[in-house]
Amino acid sequence: MEDTSRLRMRVLGVVAVSLFVALFGRLWYLQALESERLEVFAESNITRTLRTQAPRGQILDRNGRVLVENRLSTVVTINQDEHVKALIRLGFDSVDERTEFRTEMFADLAGELSQSGQLTKIADLERAFDDQSFTAFDDIPIARDVDEELLIFIGERPDRFPGVQVDQDVVRSYPYGEAAAHILGYVGSITGGELVEKADLYLIDNPDTDDPEALRIEDPEGKQYRSNDEIGKVGIEAFFEDDLRGVPGTREILVDNVGNLVEETDSKDPIQGSDVHLTIDIDLQVKLEFELKQALDQARLVETTQDEEPFRAPAGSGVIIDPRDGSVLAMASYPTFDPGDFIDGISQEQFDKLSDPLEHQPLLNRSISEIYPAASTFKPFTSIAAEVYNVFGWEHVDDWNVPISDPGYWDLVSCSVDYTGDVEGALASGCRKRNAGDATMEGVDLRHALTFSSDTYYYRLGEAFWIAPDAEINPNGIQEIAAQFGLGAETGIQLPGEKAGVILTAEQFAARHEANPEAFPRGEWGPGDNTDIAIGQGSVAITPLQLANAYATLANGGTVYSPNVVQRIVPPDPTDDPVEFGPRVLRTVEVPPQVNQQILDGLLGVTMQPKVNVTQPPGTAFDAFNQPAQGGVAFDLINWPVAGKTGTAEVTGRADNSLFAAFGPSGSSTWGTSINSPEYAMVVILEESGFGSKHAAPMVARMFDVIARDEVPQAATKDAGDSFYEQNANSDFAAAGVVGEALDG
C-alpha cells in the first residue's frame, strides 16, 4: 500500500474516533449529568391526576333538619377530546369538516334540549365548548336535569352526538326552597379572582431562601382550588367555605402517548365536607319569612292621603334572637331569592335583576347588610344614658319618677329667642321639636314616656347632653351607651357582608364634613342633632340584627352576646370532635336597677292598657296584642307578657319605616305578673309602611302568638312545581290562623 493511501486511511480513522468520542460525551451528559432532570420529565409524561369533586357538607337547622344537602343530578356533558376522536373515527378528517359537523350538531342538540323544556341557544353550547377554563379532557356540562326521555335519546345516539355524554354529578339541593336563602347563601364556580385569592392560602414562604419568587405550595390535604371548582359565594356557604368544602378525591393514572388510561396507580376517595349546624329553627324561620311578606303585603294595601307618601312596603327584615345565649333563631329579609337558581350558574341578566336597587336587591340580607334609623325603639338606650350620665334631675330636667306634662312639643332651651305664641317661627328656626301627630299627654314619667312614646320627653333629655358641660354630663353619653349595647358596630355574627352602621358623635360629625364637604354640607353639631339621636333619628343608623341583639341585652339584664347563627361544625369523621361555638359574651352592661325596672315597666305597658292610670290611653302596641278586630291578635299577655317598643322612622321623601322591637315572656310585678324569663327577642322593620304600631307590631304579635301557644307550624319541604310561599300558605299556615284581610290605616 502506498504511503498516501495509508495517510488517507488514517484520516478516516481519526474522523471515526472523533465522532465516537462525541457520541460518548453526549451520552454521558444525558445519562449521568442530566438524568435526574430528564427522569422527572419521563415521570410526568405518563402520570395524570384526575380529580373528583367532594360533596360539600350539609347545612342543618338547630333541630337537625337538613336545609342544604346534595343530590345527584343528571347532566349532559361534552368532551372535546372524545368528540374530536369520535369524529375522526367517523371519517371527518379535516378540521373544516369537523367544525361543520359540530355546528349542525349544536343546532340539533339545542333544538332537542329546547323541545324538552330546557331553553338552549346554539351560542350557549358553542360558548361551553370553547370555554377555556376546561381542558380538552374535561366533561363540560351543557344541560342539567333534562327529562329522562331526552337522556335516553342522547345516550343512544353516539353517532349523532359524538362526545356528548349523559352523566350524573352532585349539586346543592334546598329541601325548603327559598327559606333562609340569605343565611344559607349559594355556591357557584370559582372566579379567576377567587382562585388567586384562595391560592394565597396555600403559598408558603420558602424558609430556606430570601428570594421572594421562591414560594412553594403547601397543600397536604389536597384542598387547593382549581378552575371550575365550586365555592360558596355568600351566606353560610361563603363564611364556612373552608369547613363545608370537602377534600377532592384523586386518581393517579398512567397514560400512554395518546392519553389512554394504562393503569390506575393510586386513588383517594373524596371526603365530604363538614356539616354546619345552625342555631336557626327552620319552622320559626319559615313562619317569620311568611309573616314578613304578609305584613308588607298588607301595608301595601293601605290607602294613604294625598299629602302623604304612599306605603310602597317594598322590603323588610325580621330577626329573632334567644336573649339567653345570643342564638339567632330566625332571620328574614324580603325580597328574597331562590338559591336553587344558582345551580349550574345563573345568567348575568338574572343576577343583575337580583342585585338591582330598583328591584330592591333580593340578594341583600337586610338583617345584617342594611342600615336603618332605629326611631323610638332607641329610647330605652337614651333612658339608660340619661341615668348613667346624671341627666335626670339636672337643672331643668326632672327626675325619671317625676311625671311631667307633655304639650306635644319641646322648645329647645338653648334657643335664645322666645317663640312662645309664635308656632310658625319656632318650627322654622328648628327650635321647636314636636311629637308625632302633636299628641299631648299628661303625667309623663320615664315609664309612660316609653309606653306612649313621648318624643318631647326625650328631646328634653337629648338636649341636656348637648347643653351640659363635660364635667357634669358626658356629651357623648347616648352614643357611648348605645355602643355598649352593640349599636352602630358589627355584631360579629358568622355571616359575611355585615354592616356596622353608625351613631355619630359631634366630633365624628365634624370630621365627616371635613373629609367630604359636598356630601355632608353641615359640620357643626347642634342641639337638634342631639335631640334627633335621643329619639333614634338623625345620625342613628343600625342594622335590624344590632337592634334585636340590643333588645336581647335589655331582656337578659345586660349581657351582650356576639350573636351566633351557627351552633357547631361537625366533621365527616365521627371520631373527630365537633367544633362548638357556644355563647360568645362580648361584655356586660351595668344598667342601674331602678331605671332598668322603669324601662321594663314602660316597655311592658306598650302592649297593654296600663292599669295604673285608666285615664291614660293604652300602649302604642295595645291594638296589635289585644284587638283582633284592629288587625291584632288576642294575645295571652298574662301568661306570656311582652315588653316592646314601637318605632316609626322618618325617611326623607318616603313613607315612614314601621318598626317594632320586643322580647318575652317578660313580666313585672308592677303589672301583676311574676313571669320574667325572656326567651325571645325580636325586631321587625318594614320599609315605607307607616306607623310601627300598625304593621310591625301586629306582625311581632302574630309571631309571638304562635310561639307562646307553642303552635309554630311545621315548615313544609318544597315539592316540585310549588313556589315557596304557595307551599307554606296552603299547608299548616291556614290552620295557624293567618290574618288575611287588610288592616285599616
Binding site: M1, A16, L23, L30, N45
Partner: protein
C-alpha cells in the same frame, strides 16, 4: 496501529489458506453476533407491546420477522463472502444498472409509507431498494475509482464521472423522497473519494457542486417541508419535529447510568418516542440498559469499524480496499447519525442503526456489507 499493519513475513497461514470459514476475520463475526444479539433484545422490548394482563401474551410478530431477516441476512452474507470479489467484478455494471431499474420501478410499482415511495410490497414482506443500492453504490464506486486510478489517474473528469454514478442513485432516492438514505450515499462517496486519493482541490470543487445542487433542490421543492423541518429542528427547539428528539432525550436520560431494566422503560412502554423500533431504537436501549448498554453498543460498533478498517489495510488491491472503505463509511455514518439523532446531536433523518434497527432491507444490507468485507479478508493474497 502497528499491530494491525501486515508484514509479509508474518502472514498467518490460517488466515490465508484453507476453507473459507477458516479464512474469515472471526472478530468481525463475533462483533456482529454481539450487535445482533443486543439488537434483537432491544427490538423485542420495543415491539412486544403491553403484555395481556390475563394471559401475559405479548406481540411476537416483529421479533419473529426480525429473526427471519437476521437468519436470511447471515445466509446471504456467507454466500457473498464465498466467491472471490475479483471474480464477480465484471458483474458490477449489471448490478448497478439493475439497481437503477429497481429504483425507477418504484415510481410505477412502489408502495407509499409515511409519505415516501421507497418500498416494493410483496404481501408479507417489503423490500427497500435504496438500502441495497448502498451496496451497489459501494461496488460501483470501488470498481470505478480503482480502475481509473490504475488506468489514467484521478483526473477531475473521472472524479466527476464517479460522482455521476452516485448522483443517479441519489437523484432517484431523493424523488421518493428519502433524504436520509441520500446522506448515507454521500458518506460512502466521501469515504471512497478520500481514500482513493482525490486531490484536495477536486474535493473542494465537488463540494461546491454538491452544495449548489442541494440549494437547487430546495429551491425546486424537491425537499419536502417536513424534511426541512426535521433538519432545522436540530437548531430550532420550537419546531414541532423537535418533539421526537425531546422524547428520545427524555428516554435516554431516564435510563441513567444503569438503565430502567429490560422491558421497564416507561418512555418505551408508553410509546412516547415515535419510530422507536427503527430510527429511534437507540432510545429504547438507552432507557432500558442505560449508559452501560449504550457504551457497550458504541464499543461493539467501534471495534467492528476498527476490524473493517484493518481489512481495508490488509486488502491487496485497491478495489477490495475501497469496498471496505465504503462499508466502513456506511457503518460509521449510519451509527453516528442514528445514535446522534437519538441523543439530540444530529438532525432528524430516517436512518436505521445498522444490525440493530427493525427492518429486513436494512438488516440484509448491513449483513451483506459485512459479507463483502469478509470476502475481501478471505481472498487477499490469491
Amino acid at each position: 496501529m502497528t499491530t494491525f499493519r501486515p508484514s509479509k513475513a508474518g502472514f498467518n497461514d490460517r488466515e490465508t489458506q484453507g476453507p473459507l470459514w477458516i479464512r474469515v476475520d472471526v472478530s468481525i463475526v463475533l462483533l456482529a453476533i454481539g450487535l445482533l444479539s443486543l439488537g434483537l433484545i432491544v427490538v423485542y422490548s420495543a415491539t412486544r407491546g403491553i403484555p395481556d394482563p390475563e394471559t401475559g401474551a405479548v406481540n411476537r410478530a416483529f421479533i419473529e420477522r426480525q429473526l427471519v431477516f437476521v437468519g436470511a441476512g447471515c445466509f446471504f452474507a456467507a454466500g457473498v463472502a464465498t466467491i472471490d470479489y475479483r471474480k464477480t467484478r465484471l458483474a458490477v455494471p449489471f448490478i448497478y444498472v439493475g439497481t437503477i431499474a429497481l429504483l425507477v420501478g418504484l415510481f410505477a410499482f412502489g408502495e407509499n409509507f409515511n409519505g415516501a415511495t421507497s418500498w416494493y410490497s410483496f404481501g408479507f414482506v417489503t423490500l427497500q431498494p435504496s438500502e441495497f443500492a448502498k451496496l451497489s453504490l459501494i461496488l460501483a464506486l470501488a470498481s470505478w475509482f480503482s480502475s481509473v486510478q490504475s488506468r489514467d489517474g484521478l483526473q477531475l473528469v473521472n472524479v466527476m464521472l464517479g460522482l455521476v454514478l452516485a448522483g443517479v442513485f441519489a437523484g432517484l432516492v431523493l424523488l421518493q423522497p428519502d433524504f436520509g438514505t441520500v446522506m448515507v450515499y454521500a458518506a460512502i462517496v466521501a469515504g471512497i473519494v478520500v481514500v482513493a486519493g482525490v486531490a484536495i482541490r477536486h474535493v473542494i470543487a465537488v463540494l461546491l457542486v454538491v452544495a449548489v445542487a442541494i440549494m437547487a433542490m430546495i429551491q425546486q421543492g424537491f425537499l419536502r417541508e417536513t424534511q426541512l423541518n426535521r433538519f432545522t429542528a436540530f437548531v430550532d427547539p420550537e419546531n414541532t419535529a423537535r418533539y421526537n428528539v425531546n422524547q428520545s432525550e427524555i428516554a435516554i436520560g431516564n435510563g441513567g447510568l444503569t438503565g430502567k431494566g429490560l422491558f421497564q422503560g416507561t418512555q418505551n412502554n408508553n410509546s412516547l418516542v415515535p419510530e422507536k423500533e427503527t430510527d429511534f431504537i437507540f432510545s429504547v436501549l438507552g432507557e432500558e440498559l442505560g449508559f452501560i448498554g449504550g457504551a457497550v453498543l458504541l464499543a461493539l460498533f467501534g471495534l467492528l469499524l476498527l476490524r473493517i478498517w484493518r481489512v481495508a489495510h490488509l486488502a491487496e488491491d485497491e478495489y477490495g480496499r475501497l469496498i471496505c472503505v465504503g462499508v466502513f463509511s456506511m457503518f460509521l455514518f449510519q451509527a453516528f447519525q442514528s445514535v446522534g439523532m437519538n441523543v439530540g446531536m444530529m438532525p432528524v433523518t430516517g436512518i436505521p442503526l445498522p444490525l440493530i434497527s427493525y427492518g429486513g432491507s436494512s438488516m440484509m444490507t448491513s449483513l451483506l456489507a459485512l459479507g463483502l468485507v469478509e470476502n475481501v479478508h478471505a481472498h487477499r493474497l490469491r
